[in-house]
Symmetry: C2
Subunit: 236 residues, 2 copies
């Protein structure tokens, strides 16, 4: 009996703390940080507002804990997948594997912390859009390392593309990834029901294929302008 449930884990209701975290995650991810009140979260979790203060001290503290919960497992999984991807021999396959290693954990977190990575990624997208300060700090110090690792790996499998271009295209990848999680219904609507924007597996495949192609695009010639700029005049 080295490990007993030290009463810290045995709440009256089963894990109220977790319920609050899950509710907050869901509400923040769909409505933004400021639109959600502590009372909203408490009600969604079936808890008392004061209970939120007790567990997380402040609303910022609650957001911080959400990040702490997910960042570790997600980046760990990404590292594992990236390491495996780097060992792929075929260059084309390797690139695809790298992109997949970046995308997949964003949709389904490794340890799948009570709700999966998709919800947390969506939350990150929303916090990013809102310019949330708490999130900005964590992201810069937690995700930039991972991003650099992926950019370097991609650069190695595409040595003829300038690093700058790869940075841009990685940026586009993240934007596309975020947006797919933020408004999946738009895909369903525009495809007139042919595609399901909420289907994670489908979204991943589409995103990976499109992104791999974008990475393989010829580099932008920074010295000379575009080969032949198509003439588009708005004056008919």
């Amino acid at each position: 009996m080295v490990r007993k449930p030290t009463s810290k884990e045995t709440a009256r209701k089963p894990n109220m703390r977790e319920a609050i975290l899950a509710a907050a995650e869901e509400l923040f991810a769909t409505n933004g940080f400021n639109a959600v009140s502590v009372r909203d979260i408490a009600q969604a979790a079936g808890a008392n507002p004061g209970s939120v203060t007790y567990h997380f001290k402040t609303k910022d503290g609650l957001l911080l804990e959400i990040y702490r919960r997910h960042c570790g497992p997600m980046n760990l999984r990404r590292s594992e997948l990236l390491a495996a991807a780097k060992r792929v021999r075929d260059l084309q396959d390797r690139l695809e594997a790298i992109v997949r290693a970046y995308v997949v954990p964003a949709f389904t977190s490794g340890s799948d912390l009570a709700g999966g990575g998709a919800r947390f990624t969506r939350l990150r997208a929303v916090m990013s859009a809102e310019g949330n300060e708490v999130a900005r700090k964590i992201i810069a110090q937690t995700f930039d390392d991972t991003s650099h690792a992926f950019i370097d790996a991609i650069h190695e499998s595409l040595p003829h593309i300038p690093r700058t271009d790869i940075v841009w295209r990685s940026h586009f990848l993240l934007g596309a990834l975020y947006y797919s999680l933020v408004t999946p219904d738009r895909v369903s609507r525009l495809s007139r029901g042919e595609a399901d924007g909420g289907d994670a597996a489908g979204a991943i495949e589409q995103l990976v294929q499109a992104t791999v192609a974008s990475f393989q695009a010829p580099p932008l010639d920074h010295a000379a302008p575009a080969r032949r700029r198509p003439v588009v005049s708005s004056k008919t």
Copy 2:
């Protein structure tokens, strides 16, 4: 004297109404809707809080007016550019022209309403992320037509790609576009200063090239699975 400045346009301070709109646009676009108070907006515009109520009745009304201001000119310009793009003979050039016709007005609005399209597009991105109700309604009924027109045009120049795939890739384009406007600093940071995320012209070129390549990617084979899925195991 058919047209005299009917005192409706001659405020004490030069166009306080416009100042409020501009300030609200800026603040909403960078901080989200709920994080910004009417008093914040009034202060940034050098106006009195009550003045905001006078001109726009409610905070939602203010947001609505911002959309009304930009949607018309922007979609008009997109239509013009799309029409011109469709007349490009070379298929490769035409595709690029179409993508450019979609992207360019998002960065710089046609009539450049006091601040340009980039700010408004960023605002759209943020409202989308926050799931803002006012914005959702307007977007569905104003932008979907334009989106369909572009999707159809792209489909015509890429007949062998299923429409579903084009929808997905257009969706990724919009996500990348949004994200580029939301966090341009990330590009500067990840490129270690080599690229300037805030440079609209550079962002447009990168985005257009990457997107054209993604559209030209082979279609996803919905019947048979991927040709040869690269094996990536997380267990080393």
